[in-house]
Structures are given as C-alpha cells and as structure tokens.
Amino acid sequence: MSQNSHLVRMVDISKKFGAVHALDRVSIEVGYGEVLALLGDNGAGKSTLVKILSGVFPADQGEVYFDGKRVKFSSPQEARNLGIETVYQQLSLVGIMNLARNFFLGRELTRKIGPIQTLDLKRMEQECEKVLEEIGVRVRSPEEFVSVLSGGERQAISIGRAMYFGARLLILDEPMSALSVKETRVVIEHIKNAKESGTSIIFITHNVYHVYPVADRFVVLERGVKIEEVAKQDATPEDIIEVIATGKGLELS
C-alpha cells in the first residue's frame, strides 16, 4: 500500500498527560474524500487524537503523515496552513462580533492606505456574503452579529468558512451536540456537500446516529486504545453502540 493512498495517516500514536495514558498506540487513516467517524465514550481519547493532528500539541510517540509527507506541527497555524481545519461545538465563532469579522478572524483581508495596512472590510463582507449565499444561511447582511444566528447556522458557517479557506481535512469535534433535530439534518447536508467537493472529514461524536448517514468508516476508541474499526456496510448503528457501551470489539460480542 503506497503512502499516498490516504490523506491522513496516524501511526502508533501515544500520548500521556501526567500518569494518564490518553492514547496508547492508536493508528488511523483517512482516505481522500472519505468521512471517518471517530467514536467512543467520554474520555476515550478522541479529542486528544485530533488535537495532535490539528497541531495543538505533539504526540509523545508515533508518526503523522499528511498527503504522504511526514509532519510534526508546532502550532495550530502550521496545521491550518496545510489545510487542516477544525470546527468545534462552541469554539468556532465570536458571538459578539459580526459575521464578516468572524469569517476572516486571524486571516483578515487587508489593503494598503499609503504605508498602513488596513482591513479591507468591503471585500471581507463581499466574500462572506458569497459564502453565506452558497450555504444558504439567510441574514440581512454580513454585518449582523453572530449572536443572532442559531446553533445550526453557526455550524454551517464554520464549515463554510473551513471550505472557503481550502480545507483538505475537516475535523468536526462534536458538531451536533448543541443542535436541535432539524438543525442536525441541515448541518448533515452541509457536511455531505463538503465531502462531495473532495474534502476528507473526521467526525467526532459519541452519538452514532449523528454521523451514520454520512460516514464511510467507523473507528471506536476506548480509554486510549482503538478497539474497533469497521466499514459502514459491515455494521449497523446498533452494532457500533454495542461496541461503545461494552468496550469490546464486534467479533468478541
């Protein structure tokens, strides 16, 4: 199997926090344009694994490969530069700022007035408006504050933002936990669109039903160890729930 058949390869990743083994030799792969569901009960190590991938902290042991090349990130910025974008449950948008400013936070568009670099607010608003239209979020203007949006709309915008900035890998960390049933449906549509445009996705959740419609493969972690990995055609949601609840792989049950 060549190195280039997967966008992401994490090999034998281990991480300790003090005396706690958050991850113990976990390996996962994500193919191009694939949606990988990362499941497990609380404390399984899902967030830790993706934080290593998105550059928040390094692994103690193991290697990470992105697009065939070995990578070791020393900051989230480096991961972002390669196209790894993360969408969190709550941590993606600043409620008290408007959409355009949020959209370009940390990556603001600028223009020069003489020697001074200033915000190109007009272009920021235009670009933001384009994306809002594409993803179908209806607001009066990009000058609206994020706080007027619902949870589902915010997640849609976060995903849209990640796609706008050319995400090759989209990491979704519990994106549906705070959403209503209707909103969940809408966000799933956005995720499907992202997948269709060729982006790979790692979808973290502890609720299988949220991810089952879009996932291609499922990986279950239990206390830092990978206990199951199965393709969609080989397992039902109930099977997977059983794995998570009992902490045992499918063959063993």
């Binding site: 600043v94 409620g95 008290i96 700022m97 936070l105 940390g106 990556r107 670099q117 200033t118 915000l119």
Partner: protein, 330 residues
Amino acid sequence: MNTVGTEKMVMQSSLMRFFSRIQKYPAFGVFIAFLVIFVIFSVIAPKFLTLANLTGVFTIVSELGIITIGVTLLMISGEFNLAVSGIYVFSAFLFATLANNIYSPLALLITLVVASFWGYVGGIITLRMHIPSFITTLGLLMFLRGIMLAITKGSSIDYRGDAVVPKMLAKFIGGSFRPSHFWFIALVLVFAFILTRTRYGNWVFATGGAKEVARTMGVNVDRVKLINFTISGVLAGFSGCIVLSRFGVANPSFGFGLELEAIAGAVIGGTLLTGGYGTIIGAALGTFLVGMLRIGLILAGAPAYWYQAFVGAILIIAAIINLKLRRIEI
C-alpha cells in the same frame, strides 16, 4: 385618499429608516445623551456656554480622556487596569524630577518608557500568574500610590525645568485652547482607527469577545492583552505629564479616583465590562459627559454634594440604554 396622512407616513418611515441606520452605530446612544445634557446645562447654567468654560471643560476631558482611551482598548480585550491613576501621578513626579535636571523632551521620553513599563508589569503578572487583572492592577495601584507617598513624604514637587514640553503639552495657545485638546482628539482618532480598521483591532475584539475562539483561530491572545496593558500605561503616563505641565506643581493626591472615572466614561460610552465590544469614540463622548457633569452642576448652582449621586445615576442609566439600544431591531 388623505394626502396629508400619506405624506406624514412617508416622512415618518424615512425618519425611521434614518433613525435605525444611525442607531446601529454603537456611539449613538452616548452621543444623544451628551447632546441632551449639554443642551440642558446650556439652558439652566448661565455661564456654561461661554468659550472660557467650554475650553476649561475640554481641558479636564482631554486629560481624563487620554487615560480613558487606553483603559477602553484594554477593556475591549477583556482586562482592566486600575493602576492608571497611580501611573499618572508617578509619571507626573518622575517627569518633574527629571525635567528639573535635564532637557524636558528627554525627560518626557524616559517617563513614557517607565509608564509603559508599569503598564506592562500589570499585564505580565496578570497573564503569567493567572490572577484577575482587577486584582493585580488594584494591588499595583496601591503599590504605586504607596511608594509615591513614601518617597515624597507627602510633599509636592515644583516644575523648574525648561518650557519646551509644557508648551508642547499644556500651555495656552491662542485664546483658551491648549495643545492637550489636540493631543486628545488626535489620539482618539488614531486609536479609533486602529480598533476598527486594522487586523490588530479585529484581534482585540475577538480576544475580549471569546478568548478561546480567538486562540483557536490563531490570534496570539496573550500578546494582544500585553500590548493593550502597555498602551494603557503609556497613555496614563502621558496624561500625568500633561497635568504637571499645566499646574507646574504636583502632589501625591493628584488623580485620586481617576481610574474609576475612566471606566465610567468607557461604560457610559458603550463599552461592555465583560469585553469584546466598545468604541473609542463612544468612550471619548462618555468622558465628555462625565467631565462636564460636575462643572455644569456647579455652574447651575446645584447643592454642594450632588455630583457623585448624579454620575452614579447616569452611569446606570447609560449602561441600561446602551444595552437596550443594541437589542432593538426595526
């Protein structure tokens, strides 16, 4: 069809549209409040609308306002600097001591560097030790005022240096105007621009609005706060040098309570105490309001001790109005 009726309706709706448009500007509320109070004082206080009085008010407002700019910028990024009045009086003394011996512009420069140091210290302790800035800077304030008292033993200091800096900062130029008025306006414009039209400004809003979100999006949150702490120190020091230049004398009680007046000006001007929202223009207008209140009351012949009650009431009313205005959608 009742044509007068329709005309009235058309006028009303375009008025409503104008109203709803300017209402979106955060400084709108405080601007209205300022106008209202200004008009009231002009009417009931015979000497209020004189050039001498207005420039007098402008002078106090400039000195307080320069401090408020720094305090506001820091508040928007989510922190407080209560030590500003301590840095202010410390700088007044330092500047006088230095300028009594060396070329005053050099003395001013050194003083500003030291003032920025005090701002920085407040910030670095807050961020490294994870203590709320309210507490650190309160301690720093007591420390600064304390060592002032200990070193000076309560006595005042006279300015005996050259006239270069005092002329540059505070002495009358043409009629009743002072350079400090222009310094204040210039600084308001500069910092308003920085806050609203630069990348850094965006980071300031994000840092105060949702620190962790800003961090995940790659903003160096600690550096933004540290820079703002330092700026608040420099501006407080600058104001201290201005007041020394104006009076030619300073004593350790100078500036007592200014830190709270600065915060009051910022809050009346629409800045949220919790951070993430506010304007420099609004804070400047809030400072105008606070600054002209006391003088206006005296000129209007109000009973001796009403000032404190008035400012307190207005602070609360202004805070409520600002919050409500932002929620109205027409």
